[in-house]
Symmetry: C2
Subunit: 387 residues, 2 copies
């Protein structure tokens, strides 16, 4: 049969960093010491109360299908979490448990995106988001964002980019790759434009919990017509378990349930049982210790990179990334990333993976490794650049 | 913001049986004894070697992201399984590990379906398949199948339904809800038509392993241009773990990998580590005992239902379902299913959930409960129908 992929494949890019990762593994297999600062994954293991709960469920035979939107007790636990942590009332019936935040975004766009609809996204941004949208035949429209707006969209930008084909807006706070936040007032201002334009508004909050000065406000506080996506991967450190959730405007709950019944059946049962322990005080105590550790790493790394000549133009208020302007040091960040890997053993992610807004000038360093290793990386970079 | 779901939602149905399930749970909470014959889930727990392997991985901290297409050692184990069980060579590089068979079908249609393309499916059939296709903007075209062709499509049907918009064919062997098989010669004949028409050919083999007279042949033996979908849910009894796999024609491996990177990141890591134990001799020994038990159930239930007046017109060669013509007993199977639940406490799935080919005349009984309970169900049905 002839090779005939769907047309959408032409618009969906692979992760460019995978090429670097493959090379990094090859170097490691040859005995080279590689410092991994390209990885978007916490280096901490899943907290023990979560793994214990999952193991108890598995050993107790709790491995059958659950309801399509997830275990009612987990949906309730998340509802309680919104009340306790944010002081916001979110009905458990509006919460869907999903296959990670990826699964949530798949369901959201399956529920909302019509072929040819345009959706506004910030550039730089997490690349999968626009590819998921494209998969459901929506058209991602990149709004270039920069230091002027702390790498976040503004109401003025929405008005500039919105046209009769525009169906909605997706933002992230904290954002990837920049780590910048939206204040509640900023979220409300974006929501107001979406309402005025009769558009949908989706907010990716998967790095919530990992903020270092101010607590990120949830978009749930800005209206129950906003779709809010979250994850157990980052703050709760359950990456490989593939579990997330989504807060759905009431009118769409039945639609998302229908889609979940048909597209996924249910999220992972062992992961859901593990996640039931995610909000317990002993788990939160572990997570808060680790958050303090992330903060120390950021506070070490940002000035050290700036001293070398990288410019951290995005205020890294959350997540575990520093998005750096490297244009004073190199012409092209992809070539730089490759060269750094070969010559210093430091792996970082070139801007190319985050969009088309001056990617060659930017590189992302993840502080998903401890301060001693970060210090070693900084030392290698210093030598490389002769600083 | 106004309620404005994507247009596809109008074509995607919920599971109708859920309404019955909700009522069944209500009756149970009132103390009624319900015999569940509506459930498409084995009643056996996940085999202990699999749960032990998963627990060891979790306790060993193996809970990080894996490669997008899954753990290389699991892909190799599946490749070995094809060689040992079927005598067919399937390169590990062609195998993608997925979020259940659902995840596999999502990736397949995301990779292949263009908006407006028509795809041929058998009716009755598993309803999610056509809904997943619709989600990626393909158009499912139902081919009514019946006892004449053992509820499977034939080359003549393909020629009748194929037109310039047709992109491909999806079949299932063993099929749900009928349990009927395709022989290798039949698969080859369908593949030949697909090749002649330059179409794609997908074969759902998620009930493989659960066959009772003859071993189901795999479509992998009929050409490396066929997409084959399988699952750890049914034979391996890992439903809630959400793990499956797909054999991909070589030319599309990179496309599916790109999609997996962007849409799912990776399948569940604990589930993958559990599945590494799925092919071990001690696991297979457990599964083969359970298969013998399923066969006993089928051999008890089929004649017992026929004695009451149900007609098992589809040869139930595999899976764990009996798809019965109930037109001699009732005018409408949905009403019948509701009445059986209320008056006898026997829950079954009405034909409505499997398509639009005479659904009112059909009802599906799952033998996912032991013979003593099946005997009790038969006794209740006998009394209900006065036989």
């Amino acid at each position: 049969m002839t090779y005939r992929p769907a047309r959408r494949l032409a618009d969906i890019e692979p992760f460019h960093v995978v090429e670097l990762l493959t090379r990094a593994r090859q170097l490691e297999s040859e005995g080279r010491d590689i410092i991994h600062m390209e990885v978007g994954e916490p280096d901490f293991p899943t907290p023990e109360p979560i793994t214990k709960a999952a193991v108890a469920a598995i050993q107790g035979g709790k491995t059958l299908y659950t309801q399509a939107l997830g275990l009612p007790e987990l949906r309730t636990a998340i509802s309680d979490f919104y009340r306790e942590r944010y002081g916001v009332a979110v009905a458990a019936s509006r919460i869907a448990i999903t296959n990670g935040a990826s699964g949530a975004l798949n369901l959201a766009f399956a529920a909302l995106a019509n072929p040819g609809d345009e959706w506004l996204l910030a550039d730089p941004g997490y690349p999968c988001n626009r590819h998921i949208l494209r998969t459901y035949e929506g058209c991602p429209i990149s709004m270039p964002v920069g230091p002027d707006s702390n790498f976040q969209p503004t109401p003025a930008m929405l008005r500039q980019y919105w046209n009769e084909k525009t169906a909605g807006l997706l933002v992230a706070s904290p954002a990837n790759p920049t780590g910048t936040l939206l204040t509640l007032a900023e979220i409300e201002a974006l929501a107001a434009v979406c309402r005025e334009k009769q558009g949908h508004f989706l907010v990716d909050e998967i790095y919530h919990g990992l903020t270092y000065e101010i607590a990120a406000p949830t978009a749930c506080a800005a209206g129950d017509d906003i779709w809010v996506i979250n994850s157990f991967s980052k703050y709760f450190q359950m990456t490989g378990w593939r579990l997330g959730w989504m807060v759905i405007p009431e009118a769409y709950v039945r639609d998302v349930e229908k889609l979940a019944q048909n597209l996924v059946l249910c999220p992972s049962t062992p992961a859901q049982h593990g996640a039931l322990a995610a909000f317990a005080p002993d788990t939160i105590a572990i997570l808060e210790e680790r958050r303090a550790e992330f903060r120390q790493r950021r506070d070490f790394l940002a000035p050290a990179l700036e001293a070398i000549g990288f410019r951290v133009t995005a205020r890294p208020e959350g997540a575990f990334y520093l998005y750096c302007d490297c244009s004073a040091l190199a012409d092209d960040s992809f070539t730089l990333a490759r060269d750094l890997l070969e010559k210093t053993g430091v792996a970082a992610t070139p801007g190319l993976d985050f969009g088309s807004n001056a990617p060659e000038k930017h590189i992302r360093f993840a502080y998903t490794t401890g301060v001693p290793r970060l210090a070693e990386a900084v030392e290698r970079l210093r030598r490389y650049f002769g600083r």
